[in-house]
Symmetry: C2
Subunit: 266 residues, 2 copies
Amino acid sequence: MNESVERGVAAGSHERLRIRAGAFSGTTAGLAPGNVQANLVILPKALAHDFLRFAQANPKPCPVLAVSEPGSPRLPGVGEDLDIRSDLPRYRVWRRGDLVEEPFDLFHVWRDDLVSFALGCSFSFEEALLEEGIELRHITCGSNVPMYRTNIHCAPAGPFAGPLVVSMRPLNPRDAIRAIQITSRFPSVHGAPVHIGLPETIGIEDLAKPDYGDAVPVESDELPVFWACGVTPQAVIAEVGPDFCITHAPGSMLITDLLNSRLASL
Amino acid sequence: MNESVERGVAAGSHERLRIRAGAFSGTTAGLAPGNVQANLVILPKALAHDFLRFAQANPKPCPVLAVSEPGSPRLPGVGEDLDIRSDLPRYRVWRRGDLVEEPFDLFHVWRDDLVSFALGCSFSFEEALLEEGIELRHITCGSNVPMYRTNIHCAPAGPFAGPLVVSMRPLNPRDAIRAIQITSRFPSVHGAPVHIGLPETIGIEDLAKPDYGDAVPVESDELPVFWACGVTPQAVIAEVGPDFCITHAPGSMLITDLLNSRLASL
């Protein structure tokens, strides 16, 4: 293991143990900088195969980083000593599509048939953009990235179907071109944008009215650039309304041992 | 030498010999498909160093593929048996910035102090775009690509200075993103676009009035995408008006032995 990889494991493990001990329950943004953070979806085994097929068919909104054995709280490959039941600051428990609880751990609801999915998150490519000096408006504004339901249909699998949800970042044309190059290197965390410049052609009527997150200003010398968003699987699952399901709470991500820089495909 | 490289050498040599023999004097578009075609600039040695510095400082409009020894008609590295004085269908001879002759060979004007530059040309990246099924409007229209002088200044070197000239291809947003990815792989033939979507911000008032080439329609679901253009060095040289200078005639390019596919940086 080289030195930076070792540092990644140490930082990931350190933060997860701190969270597990109950010493931290806020948003994970900024924790273990350089480490990959992931969206979490936990489903009963009966639905897991269809969900994995859905993710496989829609890799831009649903980039799978790891899948657990049924009933196992481990996710080997993304965290050495990870316990998915305790290592996120906060969770959301859903029953038949309704949010029923936002617990700090999952021991009381854990079942032997649960399968955990860690899905790539835009934090990873945003770090790469920020490192090149590209301004991200929602970060400048201190708000959540604006997200929109589009008229683009995800490829369906079993009960899972629905529209692609995208996040939007306004960029001047030069930064937009560079951002396409940079994020193309990160296919496992949403990859290249899915759209640029003409939101009405993908069913977005008004940029000032996002379906999720907060609106941000788009200047006259900027283009809106749209990436496939990890909210897509959450919206699709909410639509399906499975009997039982767990996700991370917004902003309360799984901190992995993986390094963002190591996700680059080249 | 592998088989495809060998085929490239054979095809390049075959076409150059045909042109040298006077058997062909039209446009080189479509000849030796797969082979790199190049813009040609020939300058007296006294100006050659400044011109090479200009190209080095402006690699997107002026990607240098090869430079000759002073006085030598060879360009080793781009063509085995190449004679720059006879292997293009047609040339332009300039004196003090005026076009004085369009000869079929250069033997009568050749001098011992001339330095030849082969510069990358958009034919190479257009081939890569067409191979992925991306429509190029000017080809569909059977016209020349529209080109525009921008308000972007090239980095000056010696007497060489002037605005960046760009070529424009209208693309739908999905193809525009893909085209950015594809052309990013070809830095030696203009590389990634320099602009997308907001022509007025780079000093282009009216897309229907190109400074060179022909206007093409841009549909409402398309963005204009702009690449640095090989007309830039020609416009800059025309501005400088050197005592003596030779270029290729429009559309009458240098056919090299190099393969477009081999120019891909990854």
